[in-house]
Symmetry: C2
Subunit: 149 residues, 2 copies
Amino acid sequence: MPTRAELGVWRSFLRAHARLTRIMEAELIAEQRLSLAAYDVLVQLSEAPQYRLRMTELADAVLLSRSGVTRLVDRLERAGLVLRERADGDGRGVVAVLTSSGLERLRTASGTHLAGVVRHFAEVFTNSELEAFGRACELLASSSPEEVL
Amino acid sequence: MPTRAELGVWRSFLRAHARLTRIMEAELIAEQRLSLAAYDVLVQLSEAPQYRLRMTELADAVLLSRSGVTRLVDRLERAGLVLRERADGDGRGVVAVLTSSGLERLRTASGTHLAGVVRHFAEVFTNSELEAFGRACELLASSSPEEVL
């Protein structure tokens, strides 16, 4: 069982994430009419080779909820920001592809998002605090006594 | 715009959160047949006065996705873990109430969850690293130049 202090830090971590993502989402919706999950999908596709990812790869790559990815891609497709194609070769599976209008929309939206990363996140820390926080997050993001997922 | 280093730390933070919540959810589902979002709802209700929260308060209190809270409470109600009542007094609004079987289910499930908090989170750090990480998260969870939400 965790100590009271350990559990307190865990909860602070969850609250920090909830608060920041809610603020960033509110700004993104207000200024860009884009949810943070939609922004996340556009970012992942923009960084993939040829702007393409299999739907299963996309679900693994997103940093927010992967449960709603299929419906989210439906909406992005209707808005012309993403299109779906059959995967080459094996004829099975579907890939999501970022369109040029999706890339343009992402570039515009990144102005809002990146300003938020500075204002709500980076500026809260001194340089050395930010470095230490980055090392701690890297540790959490990569190491685990056993690999579960 | 953030520097490359600042953006890198922000992304590590998101990856750390995504990875930890996915691992914790996989363990909770495997051992307790409970999603992390459902666990989160049960925790918030268990800590509320008389185990009751208005649906709007519950949506604000949860640390994970608040978008699916209504449907989640539907499922928890069908499972007998939560019930809905009209809010006292004004006759408007609905409160969610934790049932005794919900409290029992939470107590059992917390064994899995709290062991995961130790194994995947607390044990990764030394004591002083954990303290510093906690202070950083508190800063992110509470301070912001302007209050947006």
